[in-house]
């Protein structure tokens, strides 16, 4: 394995850890708001790391550009959808979780 492969593997692995953490939060957190928090924050970083990891190994800059575009779109969609879900939940009168 070349050094770039090692870097890629490290980035991909870290991305995986973030995804895992996000999923764990989705399953274990107590209410909608905290779950959204876990899902969007952790998965955005996770996907970013995976895109970086794949970019290191990419053949051309076009491919890198496409992947970055995908990341940007997922960020945008994720943020918007999280806001929409939180808004509709809030309107239905579901309270924030307090210890």
């Amino acid at each position: 394995m070349t050094p770039t492969d090692w870097i890629a593997a490290l980035l991909l692995g870290m991305g995986g850890v973030f995804f895992l953490a996000g999923t764990l939060g989705l399953l274990r957190f107590p209410d909608v708001y905290t779950r959204l928090h876990a899902l969007t924050k952790a998965d955005n970083v996770g996907l970013g790391l995976i895109v970086l990891g794949l970019s290191v190994q990419a053949d051309s800059w076009v491919v890198v550009g496409k992947m970055l575009l995908i990341w940007a779109l997922v960020l945008l969609a994720g943020a918007s959808v999280a806001q929409l879900i939180a808004r509709s939940v809030l309107r239905r009168g579901i309270r924030l979780w307090r210890q």
């Binding site: 779109l73 918007s80 806001q83 929409l84």
Partner: protein, 317 residues
């Protein structure tokens, strides 16, 4: 190799599990969300089977548009209090279902086993038509074999398929009445998102249409992206100021099948065989048909999501 077959097994089991959840979740909303997840897993399975064209179509239509249609219908059902079967009202029927459920397992399991045996006992490997497709690809006018089959070799199927789509919209308009008004106020975020995404989606759709002649993509993928953009705009509360009676709207809806039928009639006149393109013009004819089909598919899918005839009295905000 082991890793790959492990992935295939996991994906296969995942498909079955998610399908089971989509079919048997107690909450209908949950079931629909599982169904959308099922569509995405299906797209993954298509990629695993080297069928990126289907993967694109599945993700956009199977999961995206179908999911949006289901959620839209659920919202309207909940408005008329029919979002769930209430056990008390279904009464005897439901109880009879419960009783038959135990017995139903047996014949269905037998059927599944029989079908599985039929699949396993298929005589060897039959080459299918890949050799013929490859041999004639040069004369088809495009270099993506799937597009060649869809728009040239089996173009007649695709012509009828565009009619099926138009028929769905006609059927809906014939029974649905005017579309329900947009929900009271759309979220500002959704509005902003739709304003930002729509041009981008149009760009990607145009790209998919253009690239479809030689790489995965084509009229259906591009059209379903247009449809998705339409769904987003409708969700954001945006309405075009055209009534269902407007000729312009109808012209775009019939553009795909219309151009296709026109090409069929013209080729019938010229060569005696419908949809037989002269090899020199095959590429350009396919492109013309695809452009018209993309517009029709996009508008039809958006129209199906609208859930009724557009009224055209409301100015866009």
């Amino acid at each position: 190799m082991l890793l790959q077959s492990g992935f295939d097994v996991a994906l296969g089991l995942g498909l079955l599990w998610v399908a089971w959840q989509a079919l048997n979740s107690s909450d209908l909303f949950k079931a629909i969300v599982f169904f959308i997840a099922f569509g995405l897993l299906m797209a993954l399975a298509w990629v695993r089977m080297d069928a990126p064209d289907i993967a694109l179509a599945e993700a956009a239509i199977g999961a995206g548009v179908t999911g949006a249609l289901l959620l839209g219908a659920l919202a309207r059902l909940r408005a008329s209090n029919a979002g769930e079967t209430t056990m008390g009202q279904a009464g005897n029927g439901q109880r009879r279902f419960m009783a038959s459920r135990r017995l139903l397992w047996i014949p269905l399991l037998l059927m599944a086993a029989g079908l599985g045996y039929a699949v396993l006992s298929l005589p060897g490997y039959t080459p299918g038509l890949s050799a013929q497709v490859a041999a004639n690809l040069g004369a088809s006018g495009v270099s993506n074999p799937v597009t060649a089959v869809l728009l040239n070799f089996r173009g007649y199927d695709t012509l009828l398929e565009l009619v099926v789509l138009l028929l769905a919209l006609l059927g809906m308009w014939s029974m649905a009445g005017p579309a329900p008004p947009p929900s009271a106020e759309a979220a500002a975020v959704l509005d902003g998102l739709s304003r930002f995404l729509t041009p981008l989606v149009l760009l990607v759709a145009a790209y998919l249409l253009w690239v479809g002649t030689r790489a995965p993509g084509g009229a259906f993928q591009a059209g379903s992206l247009l449809g998705a953009a339409g769904v987003l705009l409708i969700l954001a509360g945006w309405r075009a100021n055209v009534a269902s009676t407007a000729l312009s709207l109808r012209l775009v809806l019939t553009a795909g099948p219309g151009v296709f039928v026109a090409v069929a009639a013209f080729s019938l006149l010229m060569s005696g065989q419908m949809l037989k393109y002269p090899p020199a013009y095959a590429g350009i004819l396919i492109l013309i048909i695809e452009i018209a089909a993309t517009l029709s598919i996009g508008l039809t899918l958006a129209g199906l999501f609208l859930g009724g005839r557009p009224r055209g009295e409301r100015k866009s905000p």
